[in-house]
């Protein structure tokens, strides 16, 4: 059974560190990335099903990651996680084709629900919140 491939980008190392286990338990293949530049390379090389990205990062913004992911594959679901959730940012993200946006601080379960929802929509059936 094919597992959804997931890329999580946040310059805060703790975010990936804490979320990785839970997301893998859902049944995803999870790749963690703290450097958005490296993330852009990864996206070019491989089509991820779900990309979770922070917005405010040094040098490269989450919006650029969103654009790159959507350009690489229109199928990719991009979930934005941000501590600076404004209406403007949400509008911009939605216009650029983001799947959803979660404001920091959030509960891991909230993100997992969103990932499950996205995965189910993409046709991955054996994925569920535990």
């Amino acid at each position: 059974m094919k597992k959804p491939e997931l890329l999580l980008i946040d310059d805060e190392p703790m975010v990936g560190q804490r979320l990785k286990g839970g997301l893998e338990k859902l049944g995803c293949v999870v790749e963690i990335c703290e450097d958005p530049a490296r993330a852009l390379d990864l996206i070019k090389k491989k089509n991820f099903d779900i990309v979770i990205t922070d917005v405010m990062m040094p040098e490269i913004s989450g919006m650029q990651v969103l654009e790159a992911a959507r350009t690489a594959s229109a199928e990719t679901r991009v979930i934005i996680i941000t501590g600076f959730a404004t209406a403007n940012l949400a509008r911009e993200a939605m216009e650029k084709g983001a799947y959803d946006m979660i404001a920091k601080p959030f509960k891991p379960a909230d993100l997992r629900k969103l990932v499950v929802k996205a995965a189910l929509e993409m046709g991955y059936s054996d994925i569920k919140e535990y």
């Binding site: 805060e12 703790m14 975010v15 804490r18 979320l19 286990g21 839970g22 405010m56 990062m57 040094p58 040098e59 490269i60 913004s61 996680i81 941000t82 501590g83 600076f84 404001a103 920091k104 601080p105 959030f106 509960k107 891991p108 379960a109």
Partner: protein
Amino acid sequence: MPFHIRDKNARMAAPDDKDLLDRPIFSFRLQIILGFFTFFILSVLITISAMITINKIEKRIATVQTWDRFLFNIEQARRWEKNFFLYGTNLKDALESTGAALKILNENINNLDSPDYSWQKEEIIRHLDRYYIELNRLSQLVESNRTQPAFQNEIEANLRQFGARMVEEAAEMAAREYDMVSRWLHLLQKVPAYFLVFLFFLMIYMTRFLSIRFMKPLKYLVNQTRRIAKGDLTPLRPVRKFRDEFTTVEVAINRMLKELENRQKSLIDSHKLRAVGILTAGVAHELNNPLNNIMLTAHTLMEEFKDIDDNEKLDMVKDIIGETDRSRSIVHNLLDFTRESQSVMEPLNLGRLAEETTKLAVNQAKVRGVPIHIQIERHLPDIIGDRHQLKQVFLNLVLNALDAVGSDGKIHVRVESRKPNLVIAQVEDNGSGISADVLPHIFDPFFTTKPVGKGTGLGLSVSHGIIAKHGGRISVESTPGRTIFTVTLPYYPTARGAEEKPAPFEEPPH
């Protein structure tokens, strides 16, 4: 109401005015009065001396007349004498004329004295006496009707001798006096000319003196206002040893400066509030990161409590504590900036200050996706300054730079020391730059290029005021794509130097 306040102030001078007012008064009124008084005294002196001279000339003329009369009588006597020897007549007339001459001489003997020269009074009198005696002897001889040709010849010789000497002397005296009179007249003619020349130069001097006296304080005041316009609000110091009408202006300017300083303080505060507003948005985001870490860690701990070992649990709890500390320092940083504080001048490391301040704005920069590079020289000497106010300056410069740059913006903050005793801090951005016509005005109060509602136009003016108060300079150079604001502050060797102690924020050696 304002009049009451002003009156009160005028009566009880503020302590700052004391130096200005604690000087003897030497007002322009007094100076002008003194000038005119000097002029008046001079005129009086000239007039009096002219009157004395005229009086002297009058006396001289009288003397000349006396000598003329004397000479006339003597000459008359000589003519009669000659007639007597030629025709034997007029001897009585000769005696009469000689008597008259003698009388003139005796009557005027004291008036004929001259302070300018001495004359042979005795000689003339003696000669006249001898002449008179000889004439009398001749007269007696004629009356006795005895002919003694030898005796008569002797008398004639004597008469000729003394007569000639007398005429000669009298003529000389008359000529001398006449000469004196003409000399005095000549002098009298010259004096007004000399006086006019003197007056001319006196007036030039007075004009120059007065204009210098007026222009110097005016120039001083103009320079001072120029200095004040640049934001240096130190009160005027007394430059002259005395008070005059300008002192009133200086006192008024000092009062104005005080008022301006109060105004400046409230401007600084209000501008600070605005900066806090901008910062808060950034800080809120910044705070969300550690909060999120805490949330994620706590939830993970809760969810996987049974599955993970104690060490991992301990690590997670430590993470939570660490992230809480991080939150606290973020909040503390902002609070430190907003805190109402007395202005305290203390030794500061400008580099550390710039770094702390820049960190405040880093969140804001992250929002815009603008990287801020900080480059700080190690072992910076301490400057003396007000921590909060200087922070405000840096924050303002960094926020301005953030406003100036576009999406590919970059900001550099540099702090380094310069010879001989300066610490310079630069904030450089690669925005579109400031146009040359705007550049000279950017430190003016209420000058802004930002859209209405975005900028107050006070930031740089307030910064300028703060730096000026610290005895430093803030300058700007701008070309498209490169704008550098430079804050230059002096340090003094007396301040705790950083040479001895390691810079606290120095990177650890790798």
